[in-house]
């Protein structure tokens, strides 16, 4: 799974939605590190998902340069990119597919138009379902699963791609504590196996505990990046989120954000 040069490098990236008054992404320069968990953080509308779409080549940059694996992102075909990068997007429709059929879609980039599933595909599908603990309901239809189970099916589909890089857009939104922790533990174990992980999340505390590298976006700009202790500070988080917070260190030394009751004007 591991492929060390599969990481992003962004230089002076700008993006403006057609007809918008200001840049959604403003002058972002950024490099992701292979074999790390990188978390993109920021308030609603900061440009996290937009940045992800630019990195994945589904939105074109207005100016600047995005390279993945030392090649311009625009030079990648969708199939070639899908063989390296597994994506867990937000919001999908739910046609009448079984769990196995859904996970098997992770093998589509590796199969010719008329080609049948090979032994190696079946092995990858089974391994991905096992790793995400969805193998026990392989024959059930998606609509009969809970939200947490469905999210694990999407993750299993991305793992069936045997990707060197895994990208997740708010993977734990709407999950309860248990399922959120299960998801973050899984990301850590994937990282330990050499998979590069890039995720967008609103959970600052779990990002601080599990990610190696944090990128804090605000109004389309990177306002802080680096190790959790340097990004998650009382001053930065209060200012960016426009709400007073206190930051404490937990037993592992990871900073934990505690939002304060509102008292008058924020900083």
């Amino acid at each position: 799974m591991s492929s060390s040069n599969m990481s992003w490098s962004l230089t002076d990236v700008r993006f403006r939605h057609p007809g918008a008054a200001r840049d959604a992404i403003n002058n972002v320069t950024l490099a992701t590190h292979a074999g790390c968990i990188t978390a993109l953080l920021g308030p609603n509308g900061a440009g996290k998902s937009t940045l992800l779409q630019l990195m994945l080549g589904v939105l074109p940059v207005s100016s600047g340069d995005i390279r993945f694996g030392n090649r311009p992102i625009a030079a990648w075909t969708r199939t070639a990119l899908a063989r390296e990068v597994g994506v867990v997007p937000q919001g999908e429709a739910e046609p009448l597919f079984t769990v196995r059929e859904m996970v098997a879609m992770g093998r589509y980039p590796f199969l010719g138009r008329w080609q049948r599933e090979r032994e190696s595909d079946a092995t990858a599908i089974a391994a991905a379902m096992r790793r995400c603990s969805v193998d026990e309901f392989a024959d059930r239809r998606l609509a009969t699963l809970s939200g947490g189970e469905r999210q694990r099916v999407r993750l299993a589909r991305a793992l069936a791609q045997e990707p060197s890089v895994l990208v997740l857009d708010e993977p734990t939104t709407s999950l309860d504590i248990r399922h959120e922790m299960i998801a973050f533990e899984l990301l850590r174990s994937l990282r330990d196996d050499g998979v590069t992980v890039v995720l967008v999340t609103h959970n600052l505390n779990l990002a601080a505990r599990y990610a190696d590298d944090l990128v804090l976006l605000h109004r389309g700009e990177v306002v802080a990046r680096g190790q959790p202790t340097s990004v998650i500070t009382t001053e930065t988080i209060s200012r960016v989120y426009d709400w007073p917070v206190a930051v404490e260190l937990n037993a592992d030394g990871a900073p934990q954000v505690v939002p304060q009751a509102f008292v008058g004007a924020s900083t």
């Binding site: 057609p18 779409q53 994945l56 589904v58 075909t77 969708r78 199939t79 990119l81 899908a82 063989r83 990068v85 597994g86 994506v87 997007p89 919001g91 999908e92 429709a93 739910e94 046609p95 009448l96 597919f97 079984t98 059929e101 859904m102 879609m105 992770g106 589509y108 980039p109 199969l111 138009r113 008329w114 603990s133 026990e136 309901f137 024959d139 059930r140 239809r141 609509a143 009969t144 809970s146 791609q161 299960i182 533990e185 899984l186």
Partner: protein, 349 residues
């Protein structure tokens, strides 16, 4: 990481899907049903034939009038119904995947009203009397014209092809053409109005070997293109960004699939008028039986759509004695209860 949760155990057995038979057996079963429907369609009618009489007629050994009925009337008619049913069902299945909308059907991009406008124009101007091909040609031109107009509107709204905009453009163009049709018919004579309305209700009475061969020529390559797109269609049914992330060229796939599915509907409408519910109900029935995987769904829908329409056409010829019921009435009378039943099913399936 999660042991069997209580919810998983408590779920009723039917939420577990065991498709029962492999794809090849499903296709074989549906092919047998289609073959039986075709045989029944050729045997039944004002003159019903025994199996031996049927075989004699097909091989040209029976009496001349029976041979003519079978070879010139019933065989092309049954085959046309099968081809149109297959085209409409595959077209509907494709639109439902592309639009991620259960209510999508083959005429959604204004094909039927475009074709109807073309047909009404030839009837009212009297051109339909000059050549048997004037009406189907005008209907086809109307269908393609309205499709191009719908695409033109959809593309002028945004850079990419937005399914919702396309859907709305289809509805608006349809309404406009229907208004034009009624405007024209307001000033037409009674006989023109009568034949226009009859055409709009759909019929296979005009079937000939030539219409069958035109249909087959369009249907075979179109089906091949859509079958080749089965995997990308599966992905598009889940979501457009998901499809892109799993290696699909989304815009190109959508454009090809929309165009081919609309072409299938346009050719069908041109030879047999607007026949409702085949394109809506047949793909849904196949999906509820065997799931959304288009690699199996598209060929199954083609065979089942063919069998359904051959059956409906046979009923339309035989139910009311000497009178022929419009086939659109038969498919709707069967299709509407089916559709209500579909809507009332638990959404969880």
């Amino acid at each position: 990481m999660e042991s069997t949760s209580a919810g998983a155990i408590a779920l009723p057995a039917r939420t577990r899907v065991h498709y029962g038979m492999p794809v090849s057996m499903r296709l074989l079963a549906l092919a047998v049903i289609l073959a039986l429907a075709l045989v029944a369609a050729i045997r039944l009618g004002a003159v019903s034939l025994s199996t031996t009489a049927l075989l004699d007629a097909v091989t040209g050994r029976g009496d001349a009038s029976t041979v003519a009925i079978v070879r010139q009337l019933r065989m092309p008619r049954a085959l046309q119904a099968a081809l149109v049913g297959a085209a409409l069902a595959v077209s509907g299945a494709t639109f439902q995947a592309l639009l991620r909308n259960a209510l999508a059907e083959p005429y959604i991009l204004g094909v039927s009203s475009g074709a109807a406008f073309g047909a009404v124009a030839t009837v009212v101007t009297g051109w339909s009397m000059r050549s048997v091909w004037a009406l189907p040609a005008a209907a086809f031109a109307g269908a393609i014209g309205s499709m191009l107009l719908v695409f033109r509107i959809a593309f002028s709204v945004g850079r990419a092809l937005d399914a919702r905009v396309l859907l709305l453009a289809g509805v608006v163009v349809s309404s406009f053409l229907v208004a034009l049709i009624w405007l024209v018919l307001t000033f037409a004579d009674t006989e023109s109005v009568r034949s226009a309305i009859f055409w709009m209700m759909g019929s296979h009475a005009g079937a000939s070997w030539r219409s069958v061969s035109i249909l087959a020529t369009c249907l075979v390559p179109s089906l091949a293109v859509l079958f080749a797109l089965a995997r990308p269609l599966n992905l598009l049914a889940v979501g457009e960004s998901t499809a892109a992330y799993l290696g699909t060229n989304v815009e190109r796939t959508k454009l090809i699939a929309f165009a081919v599915a609309t072409l299938l509907a346009a050719v069908s409408v041109a030879v047999s008028g607007t026949i409702g519910f085949v394109g809506l109900v047949v793909p849904h029935a196949m999906r509820l039986l065997w799931g959304s995987d288009n690699r199996a769904l598209l060929p199954c829908a083609a065979l089942a759509g063919g069998a359904f329409l051959v059956g409906a056409d046979t009923l339309s010829r035989t139910l009311a004695g000497a009178n022929e019921l419009p086939i659109g009435v038969v498919t709707a009378l069967i299709g509407v209860p089916c559709f209500v039943w579909l809507l009332r099913r638990p959404a969880a399936l």
